[in-house]
Amino acid sequence: MMSATDLKQATLEYALRLGDDSVVLGHRISEWVSNGPFLEEDIALGNVALDYIGRARMFYGYAAELAGDGRTEDDFAYMRDAREYKNLLINELPKGDFAYTQVRQLLVDAFNTGFLAELVKSKDATLAAIAAKASKETRYHLRRSREWVLRLGDGTEESHQRAQTAVDALWGYTFEMFELDELEQQLVDAGIAVDTTRLKAQWEVEIKAILSEATLEIPAGDWAVRGGRVGYHTENLGHLLTDMQSVYRAYPGCQW
């Protein structure tokens, strides 16, 4: 059983992890703005990016409240280095081509749908409230990414090939989503965090059904990459943060 102080510290860390997942993926999607395949999709992707960045602000805001030492959401987003970021690796991978972006969204959106539905039941009232708000957005995100994967997978020869290449490249990054370290296990025991190990079966059923309808195959091998939750990242995160943090670091404390 954790002491109240330890529990608060662990909850802060958990809120940061979830904030990191959101801000990193939100930034990746925002890279499509002005580069989308056509105007309508460009706007739609921008909306999804904003949903994620808004979600990150809620998690970071809560982390700042728990920290209570004057740090703000901006400090968490802009003043931490890659090793201090604890996002799952799948979120930081470059945006790739359009098929890659949509396949990643499908894998993550399907995960988030299950994850947020559980986080709503958290004993931590703030996390539960954030989850309730994010849950609605995520159902819409999933609807979009599901349809795109069906269109691309079961589309032209080229779109099928690109979608399959994306599934092959991303699959190894999905295992990490369903693993718990000690910190999260303690928070699960305290009724605060989501036991993601229990979400995998349902996620797999859902993803398999969609990929099969899209005429896409799940890769055979079981290679897996992990490390995001302890701060071991791919080289891509450093580049992303350099880009994302440049303004704030050049003008510390600036407001916008």
């Binding site: 395949p37 056509f38 105007l39 309508e40 999709e41 706007i43 739609a44 909306n47 819409y140 609807r143 979009r144 349809e147 269109r151 589309g155 779109s159």
Partner: protein, 95 residues
């Protein structure tokens, strides 16, 4: 996917229960379902709507400029078709 393969849709949004759907603009999409989603993203992000209709632009049959004369001019000299033409008895305040 090439933008030139997409179809044009007209978007109608009802902003409040009880009001009519109003034409708000158009957009490109591959089919009706996608058009509905883009309509949501492009036209309702600031919670402007409670209901969306999308119609393929091709399916709209529009009157032509050339028809104006035969369509509308004949009513110009028939003011009695408007309620405002009639003098109301005093007890009727509003109509």
């Amino acid at each position: 996917m090439k933008p030139e393969n997409l179809e044009l849709f007209e978007v109608f949004i009802r902003s409040k229960r009880g009001l009519d759907h109003k034409h708000v603009g158009s957009l490109h999409a591959e089919d009706h379902e996608q058009a509905l989603e883009y309509a949501r993203d492009v036209y309702t992000r600031r919670s402007e709507g409670v209901s969306i209709w999308v119609v393929k632009s091709d399916d709209i049959c529009a009157s032509q400029e050339d028809d104006a004369e035969s369509f509308y001019d004949p009513s110009d000299d028939k003011p009695y078709r408007h309620a405002t033409y009639y003098k109301l008895p005093d007890p009727v305040n509003n109509m």
